[in-house]
């Protein structure tokens, strides 16, 4: 089609040839002072974004040292036995370099998933109750309860764990005929972590459940399904993506939790530990253990454990998110 712009019938000022170039976004240019301000602000933005890089860089470089340097004459730590071994330290402290964190990886994952086993049903069912069943005032009350649980610092969970759960588990184990390290161990850690995870799972699940399209629930009820059937077969199903995300977040936090775990785990020097009443240790509890009086390689090696922790968290997050996407596209 011929260009209509050359119509000589048009009166008025002569318009030059139209540039047939790409459309430009109309935007007023920034004044000089604005540009300066923008640059200053962008600096802050960059600083904020850079911290994650710093974290990765510094911890990795410092954590790699024990593997590649001589550690002041003590010899380097063998990387492969570090990630695969079952005993934290073979030999005298501050002298030996035979560290391994392999069993810690297994313990950490084992404990995190066990605690999810406990916290997931409680969290999701509570969320369902708040979102769909409870009358308004009860729902608000429960929401506040959850918020309060979420804002309790981990050290307090650790304190209650030591003061309340350890003695309880100790007597419980004894009544079953098991010996336990004063109650410390896997079960104590799992319970404490589960308690800490419930608020996360509940709040995220509640939001997901509430945002389910009402029309789906109506359709289910109109088919003669009971309200309970509707909630479980439709509401929870439609919210499953959000619920899963909540669980992934909770696991991430459980993997990284340090102070509470260090107080109730029992600090096992070898492993892996699967028994509920046996003492155990995790990547984080090992990093904190004995921090008050330590130095040299015993101190530096905690950075290496830190690297392992970050890798474990990243990998777990990645794999679980893949799983989540796969489940979401089940019917493709």
């Amino acid at each position: 089609m011929k260009s209509l712009t050359r119509n000589k019938e048009i009166k008025g000022p002569k318009l030059g040839p139209f540039s047939a170039s790409k459309t430009k976004r109309v935007q007023s240019p920034l004044s000089k002072s604005d540009s300066v301000v923008k640059v200053i602000l962008s600096l802050f933005g960059f600083i904020s974004a850079s911290f994650i890089v710093f974290i990765l860089f510094f911890i990795t470089t410092r954590g790699i040292l024990p593997f590649i340097t001589n550690n002041n004459g003590l010899g380097s730590v063998n990387f492969f036995s570090f990630i695969s071994g079952t005993v934290w330290l073979n030999g005298p402290t501050f002298v030996s370099t035979a560290y391994s964190a392999g069993f810690l990886i297994i313990n950490t994952l084992y404990i995190a998933f066990l605690s999810l086993l406990l916290s997931f049903p409680i969290g999701v069912l509570t969320a369902l109750f708040i979102a769909k069943i409870a009358p308004k005032h009860v729902a608000n009350f429960l929401r506040t309860v959850i918020e309060l649980l979420a804002s309790i610092p981990s050290i307090v969970y650790g304190l209650v764990g030591v003061g309340l759960f350890l003695p309880a588990i100790y007597s419980f184990a004894r009544s079953l005929g098991y010996s336990s390290g004063g109650g410390s161990g896997t079960l104590a850690t799992v319970i404490v972590l589960a308690l800490m995870s419930i608020p996360t799972i509940t709040s995220i699940s509640e939001v997901s459940i509430r945002s389910v399209d009402e029309s789906l629930e109506h359709a289910s009820l109109a088919l003669g399904a009971t309200p309970t059937q509707t909630r479980f077969k439709i509401s929870l199903l439609a919210a499953k993506s959000g619920i899963f995300s909540g669980a992934i977040l909770a696991i991430g936090r459980s993997l990284g939790e340090a102070t509470a775990v260090s107080l109730v785990a029992g600090n096992a020097k070898s492993g892996p530990t699967f028994g509920l009443f046996d003492i155990t240790s995790t990547l984080t509890s090992t990093m904190l253990e004995g921090l008050k009086e330590t130095t040299g390689i015993d101190y530096d090696i905690r950075f290496s454990v830190g690297i392992i922790l970050m890798v474990v968290i990243l990998l777990t997050n990645f794999l679980l998110n893949q799983l989540k996407n796969r489940i979401g596209h089940q019917y493709e």
Partner: protein, 251 residues
Amino acid sequence: METVFKVRDLNLYYGKNKALNSISMPIYKNKVTALIGPSGCGKSSFIRCLNRMNDLIDDANIEGDIQFLDHSILGNNYDVISLRKQVGMVFQKPNPFPMSIYDNVAFGPRQQGIKDKKTLDKLVEQSLKQAALYDEVYDRLNTNAYKLSGGQQQRLCIARALAMQPEVILMDEPTSALDPIATQKIEELINDLKDDYTIVIVTHSMSQAARISDYTAFFYMGDLMEYDLTDKMFVSPQLKETEDYITGRFG
């Protein structure tokens, strides 16, 4: 002619607002009854009374009586769940569940405890055929229902309702969200269904009501203005308001 629903002096309130005023009318078996009227006239509220979906609205209050198969359905002790098994509903916007086509249709029967795969297979196939959808989806029953077009999804919702083998199917403006071709398919479907089911359909389209219904009820501002055989009402309406609405003078 058998009556499936008998409605007598039905009043419906949402809080302090009266939505339905002393409605009395029958719903005849194996006939298509259309409810027409301008927006907000109460026709959707009325249809929701028939399967007690208004219970879901917090401040809804009902007076009067509705009898389904000669049993009053408005009592507090009445088993609403079983009512809904016999009175199915299709909604304005297609709302299939986030599941496969098969699971959507099988949902209702499954909740009733039917587990046998063969029974379910037969039920699903039968319902999809009745909804005129089977030929289009028979080879992909396990795919996500959301992949269907709008018209197909609505037919899926109809199949889903049919799987419960209800007496009555309530349809709340089932084609208003669909294109003309999909609409036509569903209208043909309704015509076929009425041999086996009783259908009550809310529609804002006069022509649709004229095309597919046997009886028409004209609602206006919460009142039932006129109820008659469709042919009669559209040719010689009794009230002026009815005539004005039908001829498009308002609404």
